[in-house]
Symmetry: C2
Subunit: 312 residues, 2 copies
DNA sequence: CGTCGGCCACAACCATCGGTTGTGCTCGTA
DNA sequence: TACGAGCACAACCGATGGTTGTGGCCGACG
């Protein structure tokens, strides 16, 4: 199906006749006739009843019309999403179901009129490069991993400390606990496939391991969170970490447990990053929204790597 | 823009390489390459970075991908809206902003999983024919105008009595009233352009005029409710009737008044009509919903034409 | 370090599609 | 009854989008 044909249908429906629609679209009446005929052939229904002074919608045509309009609207937004200059605010998050995505959902609820696009980049290195090039407008990341100070033209503000939770299957030794201390985790195998050395999140877990003597295994390829959850659910000796704000599509019948971690609670520090000179009007709105809704983060009883900066 | 190309983009993005996408789409790799190149040329941005073992999305590609998926979803629904058999429930209402449309909005809120299409037919004659032919599944209409008994195979149930309200401009003689009686309306000019003789709604107003000696002028072409409202707002001698459940996009600064009518309150009787043998599963859901949410209509103090049937 | 294999892009070729012009038909109207 | 408005059909033709064939690039592996 061609969107030009859909547009022709909408224009013809509004005009009530093919002739006028043809003029509006700068084609001949015969072209409009052929397009509509092709659309009707594709759909297998008649969309217009041709009369001596025009064409009016059939019932099927009436039913199709709002869908056709919606189709054109969505297409317009799709094109706008990649249009340089005045495109939707484009924000990088670390995981589509993580805390940053939750913040963006909240922002969308507060400002549904602002067009958003959410992307997921590889690491903070990539994100900073994308911010500087203008490919994205903002990023939620942990800053700044050791030896990776932010460039001068990148600003950041810490917006959310997300507590880590332990995820276990029903047969795990800690499955029955209401909460566990970090000290209790020593000796247990924590499995986090897909950790890539050199990224800022790998640095986070490296620090966590060094600080508390944990055992985190990053072995094996990452087949996605569904496969991870399946394995954890079925393997008594394995547990994994998960952001406490993560929205899970909970696999039913697996008996998975999410257990808070305490003494201290490891938190993953999300900062918003953006370019000093970015002129996108929605960026200021996003920053104001985050500042207004930020839960003043209480550092007592929590742990984050020493290299994390709190603001600048 | 061609939806085949959009689909190619989505498949290629999922596959991570053109080769596999080509196999899935049953075309050659070269065709996929050309399609993607054409899409990139149209959009003016690069969507994939080509590597030695595949193609991965650029940031623009990532931003475009969800919009592309949405586009395909909407297209799917558009096609489904006219597919014979298992198409969305198609309901005829008398006006897009009237009471019946409000009932359908309520039904949608209660059952968002049910696909709906709303159409507006000319009169009950057309609606009954459409119901019998299967072109629509249900209709909200006043039944049955004099001499027009419903056919045997059409069932109906009265679902809503909508009180009429008087709509006046700020300079109208009755503009200051909190409510008006029908008797007070005698002698005032009530303008309702667009009434077509022979329709069931024309019969309703005919009866209203005959019963209470009102003056309803149907003169002049109907340029739409916006033009009607403009005229009423500016003309002190004119008022019009409007369904009390009508949702207006209120023209600002016009000072329009909606005034309830009493002694008695004329109500427009909406019934749901459907075909006895219609097998659409959602039709039963709609009937159950309407039965459950129906405000038990209290006939005291209201007026409706004598030919209106209350149920069957 | 060279070779191999996988994958994408370019070129040439060709059928189909979608546009135009020209014309005929129907229907409402003067 | 003749006319005009509007849509459909036919013939024609350039553009589009597919195929096959081929070459270049890059990572893997011996």
């Amino acid at each position: 199906m061609d969107l030009d044909i859909v547009r022709t249908f909408v224009v013809a429906a509004d005009a009530g006749q093919f002739q006028e629609a043809a003029a509006e679209l700068a084609v001949t009446q015969q072209a409009v006739s052929k397009r509509i005929a092709a659309l009707e052939r594709n759909l297998g229904v008649r969309l217009f009843t041709r009369t001596a002074r025009g064409a009016e919608l059939t019932i099927d045509g009436q039913a199709f019309l709002p869908h056709a309009r919606e189709l054109l609207r969505v297409a317009e937004r799709a094109v706008a999403s990649v249009r340089p200059g005045r495109r939707p605010l484009r924000v990088d998050v670390i995981a589509s179901r993580g805390a940053a995505a939750g913040l963006m959902r909240g922002f969308y609820r507060a400002h549904p009129e602002i067009d958003l696009d959410v992307v997921m980049l590889f690491d903070i290195e990539t994100a900073v490069a994308a911010i500087r090039s203008g490919a994205i407008d903002a990023s939620f990341r942990a800053v700044a991993a050791p030896g990776r100070p932010l460039p001068e033209d990148i600003e950041s503000v810490r917006v959310l400390d997300e507590p880590l939770e332990l995820l276990t299957g029903p047969a795990h030794a800690l499955a029955g606990a209401r909460s566990v201390t970090v000290a209790q985790l020593a000796g247990h195998r924590i499995w986090m496939p897909g950790i890539v050395p050199g990224t800022e999140w790998a640095a986070y877990y490296d620090d966590l391991v060094a600080e508390f003597g944990l055992t985190i295994e990053a072995t094996g390829p990452n087949f996605g969170s569904d496969a991870l959850l399946d394995t954890v659910a079925d393997t008594p000796a394995l547990a994994t970490f998960m952001g406490g704000h993560t929205r899970l599509v909970w696999p039913s019948g697996h008996g998975l447990r999410r257990i808070p971690v305490t003494d201290p609670t490891p938190v993953y520090p999300h900062s918003l990053l953006w370019h000093r000179d970015n002129p996108h009007p929605a960026l200021g709105t996003l920053r104001a929204h985050l500042a207004a809704t930020a839960t003043g983060h209480d550092a007592t009883g929590t742990w984050a790597p020493s290299w994390v900066i709190s603001s600048r």
